[in-house]
């Protein structure tokens, strides 16, 4: 349980943008350290543009990291996907947000599920059909869906197919990039339950990317908050919701809409959310959050805080919290 499966060290992913002749950089991921242990569900939460998907795509090899290391099962994999060995692609899979564009509309579900089975030689040709039926069964889809195309099934079912495809190569680690945010609320619950069941049965490790904090409360073992390409706070889920330290976390938690007095009391005192996330091209000096921070101090605009352990397993990157 305690062995690290993925260890991200000082990861930076910059994208060059040309503006009036000079080259600027979008600092999508700007020095992230994150360790994910075997069998855990790591929730990665942040606003749009905070760089959470970029971390996922860099880990998957879709982007070449600018700096830093990605250690997966003891091996540094900080390269583009074309240079990665096949065995690595087998162990590391991703489920994208939009099942409409992540499945080829010109193939039927059988062809879609056949690809990972064939590439990684999971089963022989004669057992292919049996395995595909089995995979469909795992995601609670009937066997006759095999010859339907993704266009012919519903959005939730399409996402089930993407999940089945990710599972086909028996991976150890799956990145879920907002797997439910494009779906109906009624289907979301079904997919989440299924993902959790699969995680338990197949001893998977998830990196669950979302902007839904209340969802994380129910399923994540640990939660990390991202802001402008940097991680602000990481803690075990219980500690995270009971004792949020970073002003940004408090702001996010206090902005979850609730319907009862009872729930209201569980939330931290109301912190008014002001402003918007700044552009990752012009990251403010010092702490990137200081422009919106209610507990701003002089030092915040001058020095970038470093990650420190505030309580066992509870890391936070904030001047105000460290003083306390």
């Amino acid at each position: 349980m305690s062995e690290a499966i993925l260890d991200i060290k000082g990861l930076k992913t910059y994208f060059p943008v040309k503006k009036k002749g000079e080259t600027l950089f979008v600092k999508a991921v700007d020095g992230v350290d994150l360790t994910i242990k075997k069998g855990e569900v790591m929730g990665l939460v942040g606003e749009s543009g905070s760089g959470k998907s970029t971390i996922a795509y860099t880990v998957m090899g879709m982007y070449q990291p600018t700096a830093g290391e990605i250690i997966f099962q003891g091996q540094n994999i900080a390269t583009a996907s074309s240079k990665r060995p096949l065995s690595l692609k087998k162990d590391l899979q991703i489920v994208f947000q939009d099942p409409g564009s992540s499945l080829n509309g010109q193939q039927n579900i059988r062809q879609i599920l056949e690809l990972p089975l064939r590439v990684h030689k999971i089963v022989s040709k004669s057992e292919m059909e049996k395995k595909i039926v089995e995979l469909l069964k795992t995601v609670e889809l009937p066997a006759y869906y095999m010859y339907k195309t993704p266009w012919a099934v519903g959005g939730g079912e399409r996402q089930m197919v993407s999940i089945a495809r990710a599972l086909a190569s028996n991976p150890k680690f799956i990145i879920l990039d907002e797997p439910t945010s494009a779906l109906d609320v009624s289907i979301q619950a079904k997919i989440i339950n299924m993902l959790m069941k699969l995680q338990h049965e197949q001893e998977l490790t998830y990196l669950f990317i979302t902007h839904d904090l209340s969802l994380m409360r129910n399923i994540a073992t640990r939660v990390a908050i991202m802001y402008l390409g940097k991680v602000c706070e990481i803690a075990d889920t219980g500690e995270f919701f009971k004792n949020p330290l970073h002003p940004y976390t408090q702001m996010l938690l206090s902005s979850i809409p609730v319907i009862s007095e009872e729930e209201e009391r569980l939330k931290p005192a109301k912190v008014v959310s002001t402003g918007e996330i700044p552009s990752p091209v012009n990251v403010p000096p010092g702490c990137s959050f200081h422009l919106r921070c209610p507990q701003r101090m002089d030092i915040c605009s001058k020095m970038d805080p470093v990650m420190q352990e505030a309580a066992p397993g509870h890391y936070v990157r904030c001047h105000a919290c460290q003083k306390a």
Binding site: S82, K90, Q93, S101, N104, G105, Q106, H120
Partner: protein, 307 residues
């Protein structure tokens, strides 16, 4: 009511057999194709032209008139019962010669497209998938050079340099035809390569070959087939233009352009020598255009329900 429901459900739950799937997809495609009645007209015209061309020696009234034949007694006759579309200046039946000239026209269209489409599509896929690389630059600049020259002019130049006959006119048209497919597929491939289903296949570990030909190509097929059906008409027109100026099929073998050109000297008195071959060109092109529209409707994907 309840029983009926149960029955359909059990039928649906079983995996359909290969022949049932084929019948089902045929039925759906035919439905989408036949929704527009004009497509059916196009299909009928095209089938008629193809059948006439294949069976030309058996269906034409005077098969001998397609070759070396002279009959000055019946020369320059207006349409009548014996010669439905009249005769030309040396007494050959115009109808027979039109039907025989379908053979060369269709052969040219088939050969030109069969060679230029695979080449054009392949180059477009490669250049589009490796967009931004050296290979993209090389392929697309060469394509641009070909596209910059007016197509008929290029074909004329090539056909004029080579000995004038059907084979060389086919070579000339093929050389000017592939860049259009390269350009079209390039645009599609370079946008599909950033789609999540292509990235996903790469992350699964699929080979380049699989990504190019199994993921990207199937998504490009619908525009390719539509363009091919439309292009049959255009290739025939270009072929007719070449034979009009004497660079295509050589006499005595009939060709539509050559007949129009020969007959035009006797306009307007012997109008049938020019008008009927010209009408034949129009009907063929129209037929293939209507068929192309039908194929486009049939292959349209997405919300229109391509299952």
């Amino acid at each position: 009511m309840m029983e009926a429901n149960l029955k359909t459900n059990t039928n649906e739950l079983s995996v359909p057999s290969a022949s049932a799937r084929f019948r089902e997809s045929f039925r759906k495609n035919w439905y989408k194709f036949s929704r527009n009645k004009l497509s059916i007209i196009g299909l009928i015209v095209v089938l008629a032209v193809i059948i006439l061309a294949i069976l030309a020696p058996y269906v034409t009234p005077y098969p001998k008139h397609a070759g070396k034949f002279v009959d000055y007694d019946n020369a320059n006759l207006a349409p009548c019962a014996q010669y439905l579309l009249g005769t030309d200046i040396i007494g050959r039946d115009i109808l027979t010669r039109i039907i025989f000239s379908f053979r060369g026209a269709l052969l040219m269209a088939v050969v030109v497209l069969a060679i230029s489409v695979p080449i054009g599509v392949f180059l477009g896929l490669i250049a589009g998938y490796f967009k931004g690389s050296l290979i993209d630059t090389i392929i697309m600049r060469i394509t641009d050079i070909f596209l910059a020259v007016p197509p008929l002019l290029l074909a004329l130049a090539i056909a004029a340099v080579l000995e004038p006959n059907l084979t060389n006119s086919m070579i000339a048209v093929t050389v000017m035809w592939w860049p259009w497919y390269t350009r079209m597929v390039y645009g599609m491939a370079s946008s599909y390569r950033n789609e999540y289903f292509v990235i996903g296949a790469d992350l699964i570990g699929a080979s380049r070959f699989h990504i190019l030909f199994r993921e990207i190509l199937p998504n490009c097929l619908s525009p390719i087939f539509t363009k091919m059906a439309l292009d049959v008409g255009w290739v025939i027109l270009i072929g007719a233009s070449l034979s009009f100026v004497g660079l295509g099929e050589q006499p005595p073998t009939p060709a539509l352009g050559q007949m129009v050109s020969d007959g035009s000297r006797y306009m307007p008195d012997s109008w049938w020598m020019t008008i009927f071959p010209a009408l034949a060109i129009i009907v063929i092109i129209l037929g293939f255009n209507l068929l192309g529209d039908g194929i486009r409707d049939m292959l349209a994907k997405g919300e229109k329900g391509n299952e």
